[in-house]
């Protein structure tokens, strides 16, 4: 009885159905881009905040893919061999995301109150932070982040392309070195980038675990994305032979683990600030747990932590594609709600200026859901998904020279 799988005879070509998904995503993106562009003129402030919600989501997909790719180069594993080209396709969208960052730079004075010269000069806290929080630094740092991310994406991507035909161990070695250094670079750059792009919207507030919350967000998004895409591809070769219950189980467990990491980091931030109860820290939470924002906060805990946690405790849900897909979709949707909860309650530059002129009191924002908060993220997600699908459809779905590849066809074991 033969047990060896003849890899050479297998066809790893991406299915033609990807073009259909890509076109659908593109249509959604364009249809929602039209009102978004209208919003950019008619309600610029709100449009920019909606844009940031969607942008941070798309960036999370790309960087989450890149981070998991690098983790996998270090650890290996069936999940990684299966999802590698999905992670790489997400990573390859980084130049597109650098392009999409331009509207944020153009609108930065409407997003970040510390860019207002009066606030920078007279707000005592902001005045002390102008060494970091200044418009030039913001742009220079953004260029550095994207340059580093794109350099690593290019190196990891081009090495992977060579591996379709070239089995030489030297490429593996090189990719391992790039991955090990890249994980370090990623941890630093995303910490600084999350401070620059999201945390600084409230320049008085700070939290040192913030960057790690974003790392958890990205890894969670990366796993949820790979789960959905691999299940989607599992109706045809080669994934139809591979996406068996044991592989689904692996992905289910990984989403489960990252759900707990997200809860752990988020709760760590909350309990330290709650226990300290200091005015410059707790106000950030007060703005987010009162009134309608409190409902959003509870939804976040319930839907990003409690519900996936309880559902993924079940072995059956982890091993059934039809049950796992809704959980992964829920995770990706709640990532948007989380971005909404992080970004929108921040004081606008006008509100910050008003607070500067009328000191005292705690800023408690009203929850307003502007229509651009919904259409702009959908437009960005549609366009990003189209670009992602385009990259995914350009290369074989598995790396043929991967020495362990035959293991994927073996009876379920190993993780």
């Amino acid at each position: 009885m033969s047990t060896s799988v003849d890899i050479a005879k297998k066809d790893f070509a991406p299915p033609a159905s990807l073009a259909g998904f890509r076109n659908k995503a593109l249509i959604v993106g364009i249809v929602f881009a039209i009102p978004s562009i209208y919003g950019a003129y008619m309600a610029t402030d709100q449009f920019l905040r909606g844009y940031l919600i969607g942008y941070m989501w798309c960036l999370g997909m790309a960087l989450g893919g890149m981070a998991l790719l690098m983790v996998g180069h270090m650890t290996g594993g069936n999940w990684w061999m299966l999802g590698r080209r999905v992670f790489e396709a997400a990573m390859r969208t980084l130049p597109f995301l650098a392009l999409l960052f331009i509207p944020i730079v153009l609108g930065m004075t409407r997003l970040y109150s510390w860019m207002n010269p009066e606030i920078a000069a007279h707000d005592p806290t902001v005045a002390m932070k102008v060494g970091w929080l200044n418009p030039h630094g913001f742009i220079i740092r953004a260029v550095i982040y994207f340059a580093l991310w794109m350099l690593w994406a290019w190196k990891l991507g081009s090495g992977s392309d060579k591996q379709d035909t070239d089995a030489s161990p030297a490429i593996w070695q090189k990719l391992k070195v790039w991955s090990a250094t890249g994980m370090l670079i990623y941890a630093f750059t995303i910490t600084f980038a999350s401070v620059d792009w999201v945390m600084s919207m409230d320049p008085n507030w700070y939290s040192t675990i913030y960057g790690f919350i974003f790392i958890a967000n990205h890894l969670l998004q990366g796993f949820a994305m790979a789960t959905i895409v691999l299940i989607m591809l599992s109706s045809v070769a080669p994934m139809n032979e591979l996406m068996k219950a044991d592989k689904l189980h692996d992905y289910g467990k990984l989403i489960f683990a990252l759900t707990m990491v997200w809860g752990y980091f988020s709760f760590s931030q909350w309990i330290i600030i709650w226990a300290g109860n200091l005015p410059d820290e707790i106000t950030w939470y007060l703005a987010r747990i009162r009134g309608a924002w409190g409902v959003a906060a509870i939804l976040l805990v319930a839907l990003q932590f409690a519900l996936p946690f309880v559902l993924l405790l079940s072995r059956d849900i982890k091993r059934d594609a039809r049950k796992l897909i809704p959980v992964a979709l829920l995770v990706l949707f709640i990532r948007l709600l989380d971005n909404f909860w992080l970004i929108i309650p921040n004081p606008t530059p006008q509100q910050a200026l008003h607070a500067l002129h009328h000191p005292g009191g705690v800023f408690i924002p009203q929850m307003t859901i502007h229509w651009t908060y919904i259409v702009t993220p959908i437009a960005l997600i549609g366009l990003w998904t189209a670009v992602f699908m385009w990259f995914l459809a350009k290369r074989p779905l598995l790396v043929r020279t991967e020495p362990q590849l035959a293991r994927l066809w073996e009876a379920g074991h190993g993780h």
């Binding site: 009885m1 009876a411 074991h413």
Partner: protein, 178 residues
């Protein structure tokens, strides 16, 4: 001397895929009283021989819920009734402060429940098992995969079953004394 009673027949394989296929074929042929042995967990083999679910996860879940509830109520009782202290002007029932011990005791109780539940439900410790009478079986913890069809199976036939097992091309088929 009478012949030693037979526990079953054991086939030896050198890879997991052959074992899983043998398990599937044996199950399809109607054999039920059999077990597969491998150096590491092999879920497909467990599925192939019709392994039913265990109740260990349920025991663990109950342990976790019990631990979490116990920890929370304990802190509630201490802080609200037994020894109320004003800490930074916070309410006596300050739930965020209770979460960390609640989490820890959930894990502790679930872990203990997993070990106790596993031992209670799988019959361990078991000082004697006939499969160890086969001298080749020691490789089951290293690099060999075994399928044992027990003589107690209603379909078991000393000659027919051996022929059937040899049809899988195993490395070896041998008797296991009871």
């Amino acid at each position: 001397m009478t012949e030693a009673p037979l526990y079953g027949l054991m086939a030896e394989f050198d890879n997991p895929t052959d074992l899983v296929q043998a398990c599937k074929a044996s199950y399809a042929a109607g054999y039920r009283r059999m077990d597969a042995y491998s150096p590491y967990p092999l879920e497909e083999a467990a599925d192939a021989i019709g392994f039913h679910k265990t109740r260990v996860p349920l025991v663990v879940l109950c342990g976790g819920i019990l631990g979490g509830t116990f920890a929370y109520l304990l802190q509630y009782w201490i802080n609200v009734f037994s020894y109320p202290l004003n800490i930074g002007g916070r309410p006596l029932h300050s739930w965020p402060a209770f979460i960390v011990p609640t989490f820890e005791l959930t894990i502790l109780f679930a872990g203990i429940a997993a070990v106790v539940g596993m031992l209670g439900l799988n019959g361990l410790p078991q000082p004697y098992h006939p499969v160890f009478n086969n001298p080749r079986f020691s490789a089951a913890t290293k690099d060999r995969f075994f399928l044992c069809i027990e003589a107690a199976d209603p379909q078991f036939d000393r000659i027919q079953t051996q022929r059937f097992m040899e049809s899988f091309n195993p490395r070896d088929v041998s008797e296991v004394a009871d």
